[in-house]
């Protein structure tokens, strides 16, 4: 056991190494753009350099003259297929080649296909467009925005939650704050670039593309191409960074599929990093106004959270984090309202904890301000406002270990040594600040199918159309089978990332471990039942034993009394070579349509705030130390500690890795990450990793993750809460809190940069 493989505590699984670790570090893991390799034609996108208007004319002659050019797919060539849809599996309703209207910067205007990558790139660069350009609207403060209420615009955001009489309570409150916060535009920059490789085998279409939703994409792509979904296969065995960016399919996929059909050979299009800013989804900028009122004792009596979010003109993408912030503490009264602000921008989409990252940042920065206003320790302030039930529907929490998280993280961090006075802690020329914040993420689960086969040789094959996006789900699914079937992990092969496998829900919303493990559990239990039946049958080796007395371990069925029988022998007496079970898991509260919808690529999510019996969340507490130079004001983070409770931890190694990655991203969100929008042209300016900064190794120093034990049987059969999107939620607010403690400057607009601290 070491730091990377924490010793499991109560209700925590072994830190098994990832089953695909060796493949990944030896370069043998094949990512979607690696295969196939024969007879490939290369595609390169040409994209618009204006954000609003029409393409009046397209000059293709120079591009056509490039040696090796095979085809150009552009306006008119997509007319026989359907436009994309904006939904869970589709990033936007804009059909870029269906319509000469330009809705945003970097919109696809053509795909050049050539014998080589270089020729395709060259041709794409030579495609010249003449535009009828109009003045675009860039963002919040630009002329020409339209503001509409968000509630009801998305199935995931039905209402603005509220409770009690906020106005009256706020008016009465002895201590109050009223402050505005903002978060910037952020773009996905996974190391694996976005790509589509498409080829046809007869009327069967095969697409290799990094995807978090192979089943959803299969159905949506078939709809666009007007073919039977059974004729479409999406393959995505490994994904080099997802975080929501590969959740919805973008219009490129169908364009490349059409190009492959026209050419009769495989076409691969790898989008450049610059082009990804306009052709993929991203986290749009948000604004917040928060009002908190409390009594002198620190008890919050009034909480209001208003949010504004940028979206595109055609699609209402809703972030809507108020359903979580409105339930975070035991506020007396709650008022929330979320508005969408439409501008001439590409449609935003999911990015790691889409609602919580911006909304909880605002809430937690405000909580810190409120603690200051009350003259109270920020941890104590949260303790005082710890609720028994959530304030909106007055439902209990299925489990809530927030205070345990605070206590354990505070202890490990040495919070007691903090001098609460602002600017009081110094180390030579460096101002030292310490801060903290809460992390929260809703625990959801969705229907899922899995097939598990146990052979007489003791091998297990597990198949599930989920996606290894780096979380380690392949490993934990294997681990679940290993535990339930008593087979060591190296005898288990796990297949994922292919729409021809049993369907799994989109790998988003931190539902994968819970959903996949619940299905695997069900399949394994069915295998156990068959084995037990064989073993206890008349004449069987454990005849007379009852199922409750039996367990599987080390390839044996073991009875309570000590008797045992080898699985191999039981299978022989049953006269079978293998037991294979196909299980469909549906969560509690699932509708009668739930499984049908899973196969249609539209899985129902359950849990979070939606269940009748309780609300379900995972929690955490993060503590940060910052150092700020007295002269030059650069901010560095020497230390960060996070403690998290998320029900059963399947594997302490992969869990820690997820949370650590989240905290690192959180530091980036606090200090580095932002897409700059040129407000004159509604265009992105810093479209590469030179100027779009994320933390580098030197920015991350002492980082500690504490896995707080928690048992929760209400969330799902596996007892698992998602934690993939938990780690980055509180971090930025904790950094802002520490910056305030060091300098006395309350920074409300992310990222926190030198210039904000110089004045």
């Amino acid at each position: 056991m070491d730091t990377a493989a924490p010793r499991p505590k109560e209700n925590q699984g072994q830190p098994l190494p990832r089953v695909d670790a060796r493949l990944k570090v030896t370069g043998q893991a094949h990512y979607p753009a690696d295969l196939p390799t024969a007879n490939i034609a290369y595609g390169a996108l040409a994209t618009s350099s204006i954000a609003k208007g029409k393409v009046a004319k397209l000059h293709l002659d120079d591009a056509r003259a490039v040696p090796g050019l095979l085809d150009i797919v552009t306006y008119g060539d997509m007319d026989t297929v359907e436009k994309p849809k904006f939904a869970n599996s589709g990033s936007t309703s804009i059909g870029p080649l269906h319509d000469r209207t330009i809705f945003h910067d970097g919109q696809i205007i053509a795909l050049a296909v050539a014998e080589t990558f270089e020729a395709a790139e060259e041709a794409a660069q030579l495609i010249r467009a003449e535009y009828d350009a109009e003045t675009p609207t860039a963002s919040f403060d630009s002329p020409g925005t339209a503001t509409i209420p968000a509630a009801g615009k998305s199935p995931l955001f039905k209402e603005d939650v509220k409770a009690g009489d906020f106005d009256a309570a706020y008016k009465e409150a002895a201590v109050k704050i009223d402050a505005r916060y903002s978060t910037p535009t952020q773009h996905h920059n996974p190391i694996e670039l976005f790509s589509t490789t498409a080829f046809w085998e007869g009327d069967q279409l095969i697409v290799h593309e990094p995807s978090q939703n192979v089943t959803g994409w299969k159905v949506e792509l078939a709809r666009q191409l007007k073919i039977d979904p059974a004729k479409v296969r999406i393959v995505s065995p490994f994904i080099g960074g997802a975080f929501g960016s590969k959740g919805p399919m973008t219009p490129r996929t169908a364009i490349v599929a059409v190009a492959a059909r026209r050419l009769g050979r495989p076409v691969r299009c790898v989008t450049s990093r610059m082009q990804a800013f306009g052709t993929q989804t991203y986290r749009a900028e948000t604004r917040h106004r928060i009002r908190i009122g409390a009594g002198k004792d620190g008890r919050i009596t009034a909480f209001a959270h208003e949010g504004w979010e940028v979206t595109s003109r055609p699609d209402s993408y809703v972030v809507g984090g108020t359903s979580a912030t409105g339930r975070m503490y035991g506020y007396g009264s709650v008022l929330t309202h979320v508005s969408l602000v439409q501008a001439d921008r590409n449609t935003p989409g999911y990015m790691r904890s889409p609602p919580e990252t911006p909304y909880v940042y605002a809430l937690e920065n405000a909580m810190d301000e409120m603690a200051v206003a009350l003259g109270m320790d920020p941890v104590e302030f949260r303790r005082i406002n710890e609720p028994k039930t959530e304030p909106i529907g007055k439902k209990p929490f299925s489990s809530r270990s927030l205070i345990q998280c605070y206590d354990q993280a505070a202890e490990a961090f040495g919070w007691a040594k903090r001098d609460p006075k602002v600017g009081a802690m110094r180390d030579g020329d460096w101002l030292v600040g310490m801060g903290c914040a809460t992390a929260i993420y809703p625990t959801a689960v969705a229907p899922c199918a899995a097939r598990v086969r146990l052979t007489v040789d003791g091998d297990v094959r597990l198949q599930c159309g989920s996606h290894e996006i780096g979380t380690g789900v392949r490993t934990v699914a294997g681990q679940m089978a290993s535990e339930r079937l008593g087979v060591s992990i190296d005898r288990i092969s796990v297949e994922m990332g292919d729409s021809s496998l049993p369907p799994a829900p989109v790998s988003g919303g931190s539902i994968s471990t819970a959903s996949v493990c619940s299905a695997v559990l069900k399949a394994c239990d069915a295998i156990r039942a068959k084995l037990y039946a064989g073993a206890t049958a008349e004449g069987g080796p454990l005849a007379g034993s009852h199922n409750e007395e039996l367990d599987l371990a080390d390839g044996k069925i073991v009875a309570k009394g000590g008797a045992s029988a080898k699985v191999e022998d039981v299978l022989k007496t049953m006269q079978v070579g293998a037991i294979e079970e196909y299980a469909e898991f549906a969560p509690k509260g699932a509708t009668p349509e739930a499984l049908k919808k899973l196969y249609a690529g539209m899985p129902e999510f359950h849990g979070g705030e939606q269940d009748e019996d309780s609300v379900k969340y995972a929690f955490g507490a993060e503590f940060v130390e910052v150092r700020i130079n007295r002269y030059t004001r650069e901010i560095r983070v020497p230390r960060i500690v996070g403690a998290f409770a998320a029900g059963r931890i399947m594997n302490t190694r992969t869990a820690r890795s997820q949370l650590m990655g989240g905290m690192i991203w959180g530091i980036g969100q606090a200090l580095h990450e932002a897409t700059e929008v040129d407000s004159r042209y509604a265009r992105y300016v810093n479209r590469d990793l030179q100027d779009y900064l994320v933390p580098v190794n030197a920015d991350i120093n002492d980082l500690q993750v504490i896995l707080v034990p928690e048992v929760d049987h209400a969330v799902n059969p596996a007892g698992v809460k998602g934690l993939g999107e938990l780690g980055n939620v509180g971090t930025a607010a904790a950094v802002a809190s520490a910056v305030y403690h060091a300098t006395g400057k309350r920074i409300r607009d992310l990222p926190i940069r030198i210039e904000q601290l110089l004045v």
Binding site: E122, R633, E634, L671, H672, D678, V685, N686, V759
Partner: protein, 340 residues
């Protein structure tokens, strides 16, 4: 990426001959048909982006002259061969001891991988990273003369506050050249019109109304060496670089400082500023302000004020004036406190 011819001459005169055959006297090196390539970390990037469009590359890496790859430290000073890699110079023990400002400026630049590829001459000649210059769909006077400057009223947080013009405010992003200019370095060049020495201070051109002219070099001139004279203030010197993250980022502001002190009294000061100017920027006014003074926070502050007296802010980069001053103050005080 467009097709190009790739030449690999083995001696300097052959390289010059190729370059002069395919360029004219008026050609700018960065706009000529034939261009030199060393590490390629700057040029290849700009070729892929369509910013540089040579149709002939003259690779310098096969040149046989061993002096091109040597660092010689003598009583007279340092002689860097043009093809020495940044990483090698950054790790050079005698440099670290005798010329810390130079070693620091290299150590704090780019990343380990890039430092292993990139040559010292290429580093000095690196072109701006202005976002609007890097992407060909924007208007940019430097890339397309007369087309306008998108950065002037655009997002110009990283742009220069010193040495700009109405045509261009692109920052010179390199670090090494700041150390060189502070120590009065010269470069040696060979071209079809013979060999010459160019003071580093004369190598780069401020944009004025011709931002497309970036250096004093002719298109067929090769930098062969960089020379730094031995000076009494080289030992007490450092390079301070302030950036948005701890590593692998260009300077928002930087200062190269070298001091000759008598107690806390300044006999000689050499100061150059990075991240804030359109060219490697020698801050003579700040040096003069310190001459003969006791170096403390007030005198350092007065020198910093003098250095930025002519600064011109734009919408997003005004903070660089304050940051640049504080960077210089901190660098001066830290240099004063060095144990040498």
């Amino acid at each position: 990426m467009r097709p190009f011819v790739y030449e690999q001459p083995t001696d300097i005169s052959a390289a010059v001959a190729i370059a002069s055959r395919f360029t004219t006297e008026d050609d700018q090196p960065t706009r000529a048909n034939a261009q030199f390539i060393a590490g390629g970390t700057n040029l290849a990037d700009y070729m892929k982006l369509g910013v540089a469009e040579p149709n002939r590359l003259v690779d310098l890496n096969r040149l046989k002259d061993p002096g091109l790859r040597q660092i010689r430290v003598t009583d007279e000073g340092i002689r860097f061969g043009a093809l020495v890699r940044m990483g090698e110079a950054a790790d050079h023990a005698e440099l670290k001891r005798g010329y810390p400002v130079i070693a620091d400026s290299l150590r704090l630049a780019a990343s380990g991988q890039i430092r292993n590829m990139a040559s010292l001459a290429g580093n000095v000649l690196q072109r701006t990273r202005c976002e609007y210059f890097r992407e060909t769909s924007w208007h940019c006077n430097k890339r397309v003369p007369g087309s306008g400057c998108a950065a002037m009223e655009g997002f110009n947080r990283q742009h220069a506050v010193l040495g700009g013009s109405d045509a261009c405010i692109a920052t010179y992003h390199g670090d090494f050249a700041q150390a060189l200019i502070a120590l009065d370095a010269v470069v040696r060049a060979e071209g079809s019109r013979g060999a010459r020495k160019i003071p580093l201070a004369k190598l780069h051109r401020q944009p004025r109304d011709t931002p497309e002219i970036e250096t004093d070099l002719a298109a067929d001139e090769i930098i062969t060496a960089i020379e730094v004279p031995a000076v009494p203030w080289a030992r007490r010197s450092l390079y301070l670089k302030i950036r948005d993250r701890e590593s692998y980022a260009f300077a928002l502001a930087s200062a190269a400082v070298a001091l000759d002190l008598d107690g806390d009294n300044v006999r000689e000061a050499r100061i150059a500023l990075g991240g804030v100017a359109t060219v490697p920027w020698r801050a003579k006014a700040a040096e003069e302000a310190l001459q003969g003074k006791t170096l403390d926070e007030p005198s350092a502050g007065a020198a910093a004020d003098a250095a930025f007296a002519g600064a011109e802010p734009r919408q997003h980069n005004a903070f660089k004036i304050e940051l640049g001053k504080r960077t210089l103050v901190r660098a001066l005080l830290e240099t004063r406190d060095m144990k040498v």
